[in-house]
């Protein structure tokens, strides 16, 4: 969930100063149109980690907007009036009327997440709370409200150095309290609980905007731009979106950074080192499949990546270590007639392996949010809902003691060109390069955006994506094998009988 907000997004002061006046003017204009047309009510949730910029963002919004039409709610501990009523009462009474903007610092997300972090609630209770939040927001949205949810994030190393820096400086020391360190100790728990909360409550009607909070210029421009674009889209929409998908903007791009570009693609590894390591990890993998617990689990691994990134080669290095009866490789191309006439996940469900087996997907269900999205084979509504459907699908697998791994093999545009040309030159490799590959290459940027969205929306605690720099095939294959072995090892070691499940 948070990977894209841990790569050091930045905007320099000059760019910020240049962009700000126009943005503020446009925001005010949009706000006045909102007031004039009474088009909808706007609900802004400002959440995130300590020090991520929640308080500053609320100040900024009040500075930028006409405060006469803004209602800010800092929701702390409930009053006795509030405790007398059901928990949602305080939020209901604070709902803004049409034409106004309500800012919630502290919302219907705060307590469920904190209760989980501090061990006062079980996972199922957090999940239940998120189901209720989704229903609540669906109702608000059906009633015409525009809901914009911001999550300001800081990486763990950044958070630590931030606290230390504040503490070192006598002028800011007072700002670091014991509570801050107390919270920092729970960083991982907080990241896990809030990641799950965000995953479960990021809907097409009310998605979360996860914004890296370390650089104030970046953070503030993101805040303003997202709000501005969301407002403009809504004001332009002819009729209330009601039960259709509300038009909401994608995460704006303010710098040249994204999670793919932040990867170092050229890893060093020579053939001799590769062959030694290959033998080591293949041997280890084979031993793992003879672990007594292996008959109680199964393994699903997914390979996605740029064309010519070396998916097939990596897969063959895995299967070489396995008993032929224990795996199947499922290459995913265009769906068959049988498959087309059923819901799109059916073609993947049918290949789910039995206990003690591997299923290795060469491309996968992620086609829905990659090629189908980019090529327009399905509607925006279809690929937007697919993120949640896929997360739900994979969580059904992991709850059933299936080990799910997802690899994204990443090569540079230049490296791809070189490989395409090499394929064309080698007669026995020509079948691997088609007109489609060249066509896809022309849409490189669109695919990159789709891949980044996919990583953000489907890299979950239980089933994270493994990003594999693949300009060097050797290094890529070893990383894949090693990740597979280590994940498997941990699953075998921590094997527990699956929780009771309903069908």
């Amino acid at each position: 969930m948070f990977e894209s907000a841990e790569i050091g997004h930045q905007v320099d002061k000059r760019t910020y100063d240049k962009a700000l006046p126009a943005m503020r003017e446009a925001l005010l204009e949009a706000q006045y149109e909102l007031v004039r047309t009474q088009n909808c009510q706007v609900i802004i949730i400002v959440s995130g980690i300590d020090g991520g910029g929640r308080r500053e963002s609320v100040h900024r919004l009040n500075e930028w907007l006409d405060p006469r039409h803004v209602e800010t709610h800092g929701m702390g501990a409930p009053s006795d009036e509030e405790q007398d009523r059901p928990p949602m009462w305080r939020f209901w009474r604070a709902l803004p009327p049409r034409g106004k903007i309500g800012i919630f610092q502290g919302s219907w997300y705060s307590l469920p997440i904190l209760d989980r972090v501090f061990g006062r609630a079980r996972k199922i209770e957090l999940e239940e709370a998120m189901t209720r939040n989704v229903q609540f927001e669906k109702m608000l949205s059906d009633e015409g409200a525009l809901i914009i949810k911001f999550w300001f994030h800081l990486s763990k190393p950044f958070q630590e150095s931030r606290l230390k820096a504040l503490e070192k400086d006598p002028r800011t020391r007072w700002r670091v309290t014991e509570r801050d360190w107390e919270h920092f100790k729970r960083y991982d728990k907080f990241r896990k609980a809030s990641g799950l909360a965000i995953q479960l409550s990021s809907t097409a009607q009310a998605p979360w905007y996860i914004v890296e909070g370390s650089d104030p210029h970046y953070r503030e421009l993101m805040l303003g731009k997202i709000l501005l674009e969301a407002l403009s889209m809504r004001l332009k929409a002819k009729h209330s979106p009601s039960h259709s998908i509300s038009a909401l903007p994608n995460l704006p791009k303010l710098d040249q950074q994204d999670i793919l570009r932040s990867l170092k693609l050229d890893q060093a590894m020579e053939k001799a080192e590769y062959e030694k390591k290959l033998e080591h990890w293949q041997g280890r993998l084979n031993v793992l499949t003879r672990h007594p617990n292996f008959e109680k689990i199964s393994v699903v691994s997914v390979f996605e990546g740029n064309d010519a990134a070396g998916k097939g080669g990596a897969i063959r290095r895995i299967t070489a270590a396995l008993d032929a009866r224990s795996y199947s490789v499922i290459p995913i191309a265009a769906p068959t007639d049988e498959e087309k006439s059923r819901p799109y996940l059916w073609r993947f469900w049918r290949h789910m392996p039995r206990r003690g087996r591997f299923a290795i997907f060469d491309r996968s269900w992620y086609g829905r949010v990659l090629v189908e999205r980019v090529e327009g084979f399905c509607t925006e509504y279809d690929w937007l809902r697919a993120y949640n459907e896929i997360n739900d699908f994979e969580s059904q697998l992991t709850s059933h003691n299936m080990v799910v791994l997802k690899f994204w093999l990443s090569i540079s545009k230049d490296e791809q060109l070189a490989r395409f040309k090499a394929r064309e030159k080698t007669s026995f490799k020509q079948f691997k390069i088609t007109a489609d590959d060249w066509r896809n290459r022309e849409r490189w940027d669109e695919y990159e955006e789709a891949v980044c969205d996919m990583l953000d929306r489907t890299s979950t605690e239980k089933v994270p994506w493994t990003l594999v720099p693949a300009n060097n095939k050797y290094a890529a294959r070893i990383q894949v094998l090693q990740t597979l072995c280590e994940t498997l090892e941990s699953a075998l070691k921590h094997y527990k009988r699956p929780a009771k499940q309903f069908s």
Copy 2:
């Protein structure tokens, strides 16, 4: 949930024999159009209580339809192949392709409900399973599937006499096993668990059809008619409904019975008896408000009913017994500007009482599914989603130790006419009768349908509707007071601190 399926619906053999041939012909025609157009896949779930007619219904469908395009799945215990995969795998593999009809006897509802009935699962687990089912069906429906869910119900007395009758007859004795009596012992638990499951999984995209199963003629015609109408509506729809609401039929009317008509409206009670009872119950109510636990709960009571049914009079008999500081009566008329500019439940949330207080609503949030539906003040989508929103709202109240009571005061059309005329004649009552009242009266049948749907969809285990025959005002008032006292008494006696709640 089940009230409308416990009133002895019947269709006589002649009517049945007359209706059957045309229905079968139309069903076959619709099926062939489905096959020809490959418009969608049809998923029929056949569920319900033992003896309610599940097996017979599946047979009937296979008899009526061309079996070459029907796939019937009797889902029993999972095979070892199935146990190796996540629980939903067996249902995925059984999904019919477009153009076919898949019948599921035993579905993704069976285990969650049975696990709850036999104490193997907690309530929250049943709720979680229903959330998953709703997501699963939403996905199927978004993918174009038509989902029709039948629940065949029998009342407890009917079930008991059915089993006894079978046992008595030597020719049928073999049909009653110990398992049947074992299940009958759990009738109440089953009714409760399945009621909750149905409430949580009745969505606009895939509502449950609850059919009284005692009379085979009625049951079979309902089965055929609902299927036929759902198919016809879908085949007529120009484009796939995708994320809009699928057009699905209302419950057909096959006899002249409905839950309102099954009420005996003329209760006998003379003035003397009334005055005695009134004093008794008012006294008791007053004593209850001084119970030590009363400061820990609050009471919300809702009065709905036909125009001139005596809501105001009943309310005054309650408030007369209360300390003026402890209650407020909230008459609901047209919303104010303030209220109109917020989601519709806001105007009710704002009146939720503190601990130790009563809020008495003279008309209520049910306006959404009554007047707003009938008069077209909101769209079909809006009032369809309101059932779940209201159930969710009320369950938030009860989870917070608020006692919620809902009264429907029912008078006959003749009695209403008499009262209208009387009001017109009495000068100090003329304000109570307006042109609106006469207009509403002209739509009596439409209101009746809306009321029956409301009772079916929002009478829940925790917050049932109390139907009050009100042709005799005395009897009606006493029934209201007595119900209030007894409900309150039980709540005070069984008071538990509210479970931990989020946000």
